[in-house]
Structures are given as C-alpha cells and as structure tokens.
Amino acid sequence: MNLQRIRMAPPRYWLVGVVVLFLIGFPTVISSFLASEWAQALILAIAIMGLNILVGYSGQLSLGHGAFMALGAYISAILAHHYKVDYLLTIPIAGLATGLVGFLFGIPALRLSPLYLALATFALAVVTPSLIKRPAGLTGGVQGIGVVQPDPPGAVSNIFSTITGTAMTSDQWIYYVSLFCALVLFWVAWNIVRHRPGRAMRAIRDGEVAAAASGVNVRGFKTLAFGLSAFYGGVAGSLYGLSTGFVSPDTFPVSLSIQLLVGAVVGGLASIPGPLAGAIFAYFLPIESSQWVPNQSWIPAQIAATVKNAGPAVSYGVILIVIMIFAPNGLVGLARSGYSLLNRRLRGATDRETGQMPPDPQTV
C-alpha cells in the first residue's frame, strides 16, 4: 500500500509544481492586460473552489454563489472607500465576514431539501443586484463604488523589473495577490478534503442518514461547509472588486452565478484541481468566442454582434447540458477515468488494485 502510494503520488505532485511555477512565471511574458484577465480567472477559481466544497463535498447545491461574491466585494469596497482601510487588509476581513454570513445562512439551509436550497439560492442570485441598490448611501446605489487599484510594493516591483525589464503594473500586482490567495486557499481546501472534515462531508453527500448513523455530526459539517464555501466566495468577491476597479449591482448578475456553476461542473464537482481548469474554461470561453467571431470576415457584422451578446449564454447552456448528460464528473473526472483506463490497457487486461480511489460514479 505504502509503496503504491509513493508510486502513484509523484505525477500528481509534479503536476501541481509545474502548474504553480507556470502561474508564477506567466505574467512576466504576457501583457499587463492579459495578466488582469488571468487574475480574474484565478479569482473565479477561488469562488469555484468554494462552490465545490459545498456541492461536491456536502451535496448542497448553491446557485447563488455570486451573491456571496457580491457581499465580499462590497465589504471590501465599503471598508476601503468609506473607512480608508488598506484594500489588501480588507480581503481577509471580507472573507471572514462573508464566511460568517454563509455559516448563518447554512443554519436555515439545513432544513431545506437540496432542491429547495437550489431554488432559494437561485432566487437570491436573481435578487442580489436589486438588493445592492438599496442602501444607496452605503453601496453607491446603481453607480456602485470605485476601487483604487494599489501600486505594487517596491521590493516586488524591483524583482519583477529585473526579470522583465519593464515596471510592474498594478494589474500584474493584483494578479500576484490573486495567485497568492488562490494558492493558500487551494492548500487549505486540499487539506480539509483529505482529512477528517472532507471524509465527513463526502459521507454526508453520499447519504445523510448513514453518515449520521456512523457518528458524523451532519448538521455541524453542513453548516461548516456553507461557511467555508462562503468564505471562499467572499475572498473571491473582494479580489474581483479589486481587479475590476469598481463594484456595482451589474457586476454581480445571475449570469455570474451561472458562470461559477459552469466552471464547477466543467472542472468536476468534488475535485480540488478542477476549479482551476473550470475557471479558465468558464472565464475565457465567452471572451475568446466573442473575439473570434467578429474577426471572421465572412460572418455578417450584424450576426457577429448578436453572437457576441448571446454566444456565452448559448455555449454555457449547451456545456452544462452536455456535460451533465455525458460526463457528470467534469473534465477532471474524464481525465481521471481516461487515465485509469489507459493504465489498465497498458498493464494488460488483468486489472490490479491501482491504489487509487475509484472515481465517484456520480458526484452530485
């Protein structure tokens, strides 16, 4: 068993190492504008990680995670704008406060069936923009609040300019802040999932009654999952405000929650590396498709304009449906089952114990 674990472990750790190095080095070779796009993808990845903890590991579906992001973003923006708190300091505050709200939200959510929870959170996502508009003095109403993007600190900027020969922009600095948060939160999620709380939450997802019967504190862990998930959402929201430079009701439409769901589903619910893949996909799909289409000269301009508007929704919809029908474990699940299939082929038909958990047949 131990030997097998060592044999199985390296590829995974290697992969993590390569990805991290890539993400650290990436901005030195791309434009500042692209770096800000990648920062947003990383931020989405954080929120999706949170959503994954909730859906994939405790079986509660939230369709309103955009609302938690909105809360985190507004907490940061209000602290920074009205109370002149350093924005970077507001990030953990926003995370913790949103986490607390999520934890409290999780208590009544315990009483709801998964279906009702989905319904209530969806309604929350739809209503969020109009709720934000209300205390206009605090939230800036329809206008929202501008967020001043910080300059990179001297030391970091110096290192960066020695490598690239150009000064570091605040977009690039925000990218690194987001990356730092993402890595820390990735590490936290990884640890939670692989230890007792993760096992408890998986047990709850797979059957609450059985989990309770084997001594798992079902209520405790479900609310904990909600709180944790909201914490991730809050941090992501706070960073989101930072990277967009302002927060307004329209920053957090229902489609943001859908985008998160797409990312989670594409990456694979109940997987920790999935969110990154899912976020990159969900973030860049509409951007790329909307840039590609208008550049095709053979497509009439009017159609191109419509595709630009309607394209993301159509492709998100098709992706959600197709993935749920054909690959309910998402890209990571697909890769995993492909990998184990390949392994089996290579080792011959006599299937041996691979030392790996079999992929979850259905993670929702």
């Binding site: 279906l115 319904l119 209300r134």
Partner: protein
C-alpha cells in the same frame, strides 16, 4: 379604499400570470420531483414565437392557440431530447440541466431576436371600466379571464379525462401505472408539453406589460417560484392560490410600503420563498413530505 381595490385587482391580474407559470412548475414537479428552472425561459421563447406570428400578420386570437400548440410540442421535444437521457440521474444533475436549458434558451432568443425590448400587442384595451365604483382596466380583466380559463382547462383535463387520470397516475406511481398499461415515459413527455403550454400563457400575458425581451421572465420566474412554494409545490390549486396571493402581496407592498417601492418587489418574492421554505416547507396545500431513507 378605492385605490386599494384597484391595486387589489391589478394584483389579481398579475397573480393570474404568476399562477400559470407556477402551475407549469407544479406539473413538472409532480411528474418527476424536479423544479424546472427553464420554465420561465421556455415561456419567453414561446412568447417570441407568438410575436413572430403576429408580426407576420396573423391575428392575435389565432396566433395565441397556435403558439400554445407549438409550445406543447416544444415541451415534449425538450423532454425527449434533454431530460429523458438522464431521467434516473440524481436530482441535482437534473436541476443543473434545466438551468443549462434556461441559459441556452435565453441565449438562443437573444441570438435570434436580440436584446432590444419590443412592445407586444395586447388584445385588451388599456381603458378602464367602472365596476361599482372601482376603476378596473380591461387589460387586467382580460388577463384575469384568460388565466382563469387556462387554469380551469388544466383542471378539467387533469381531473375529468382519462388522459389526465393516467397522467396523474404515471406521475405519482410510475411502477404501478406501467403494470396497468400506462405508457409512463410518454406521460412524462405529455406533462412537459402541458407545462410548456401553460407556461407560455404567462409569457404571452405578461409581455404587453413588461415589453418583450429575452430576460423578461427572469423576475416572473422568481414570483412563480414563490407562488409554487407558497401553495405547496405539488399542489395545482395551491399554485393558483399562491400565485394570486403573491400577485396581490407584491402589488400592495409596492404601493403602500415606502421602502419597498417598485425596485424591491422582487425582494418581497425572495422573502416569501425563504420565509415559506423555512417556516412551512410544505406550503399552504402541500402534504408533509415523507423522508425516504
């Protein structure tokens, strides 16, 4: 007092619209224990179809039933194509699929018709009539009448016909129904068709009020959720009563609660959903759910 009564009638009219959409949700919930998040978007698409027919010169009262038939066929098509392959999947998988469907239909409508709001014809004049001292618009009365007729028709279909009987049997007792020769899978498709047609009525009724555009139903579906949950999500009469209560509530709240006004009416819908789910999850007419182990 008079203004109050006018608000009340207006609330009943809009409530009738919510009731139709809520009834569509209930029909699908009964058939497969699923909330169809795409119900509103399907209704929106049907409304665009009606719009296209009318702008081709078809008279409103012909376009209306034609649209319902098309919506019915569309609902069956959706069930066969998208839902049937995953009939036995976990409920959250189905929820995500209907959400995907909602997103897809929304995008498609945007793709075909764009996002510029269009005015949609109403067959009823917006003039008012004096009903024992209360001025009520013909439009409100017309909406109430149409909703009432549709709801009554659904009731008669379900309760008084053999098809309705087998539909109900297939929804509640699929195994037993199969042994009685009921084609359960087709009954589910029929349920989707029926729900789609009933939902389309709400879209066609609300379009003259809200202006037609792809996101038109986004708020209406929240009110319909509220109505269905309030009535007890498995109860067709509950959906109707729930719809009327929600319609009147948001109308009165918008008119008389200064902090609600026009823009927080949607929040009232959310409050109803969350309040009912927490305090009385079975709604007004629902039975206590049996928790299956």
């Amino acid at each position: 007092m008079q203004e109050f009564l006018q608000q009340l009638v207006g609330g009943l009219a809009i409530g009738g619209i919510f009731a139709s959409l809520a009834l569509a949700l209930v029909l699908i919930y009964n058939a497969m224990g699923l909330v169809n998040f795409a119900q509103g978007e399907m209704a929106m698409l049907a409304t665009f179809v009606a719009y296209a027919l009318v702008s081709q010169g078809m008279s409103y009262w012909i376009a209306f039933p034609v649209t319902l038939v098309l919506a019915f066929a569309g609902g069956i098509g959706v069930q066969r194509l998208v839902i049937k392959p995953v009939e036995r999947a976990p409920i959250l998988t189905l929820v995500i699929i209907t959400l995907g469907l909602a997103t897809l239909v929304n995008g498609l409508a945007g793709f075909i018709w764009g996002y510029v709001p269009r005015s949609f014809p109403s067959p009823f004049s917006s003039e008012s009539v004096d009903l024992v001292g209360v001025f009520v618009s013909y439009r409100d009365l017309g909406v109430i009448a149409v909703s009432g007729i549709v709801l009554l028709a659904v009731y008669l279909l379900l309760q008084r016909t053999t098809v309705g009987l087998t539909l109900r049997a297939a929804a509640h007792h699929p195994e037993a129904s199969r042994l009685l020769g009921v084609h359960v899978s087709w009954m589910l498709a029929l349920g989707w068709g029926l729900a789609s047609a009933v939902g389309a009525v709400s879209g066609i009724m609300v379009a003259p009020i809200l202006l037609l555009e792809p996101n038109m139903m986004q708020s209406i579906i929240i009110y319909a959720f509220a109505a269905a949950v309030l009535g007890g999500i498995e109860s067709p009469p509950g959906a109707v009563v729930g719809g009327l209560i929600v319609g009147v509530t948001i109308n009165l709240a918008g008119a008389y609660l200064p902090f609600v006004g026009g823009d927080l009416q949607l929040a009232v819908g959310l409050a109803i959903i969350i309040g009912v789910l927490i305090l009385k999850p079975n709604g007004l007419f629902g039975r206590a759910a049996v928790r299956r182990v």
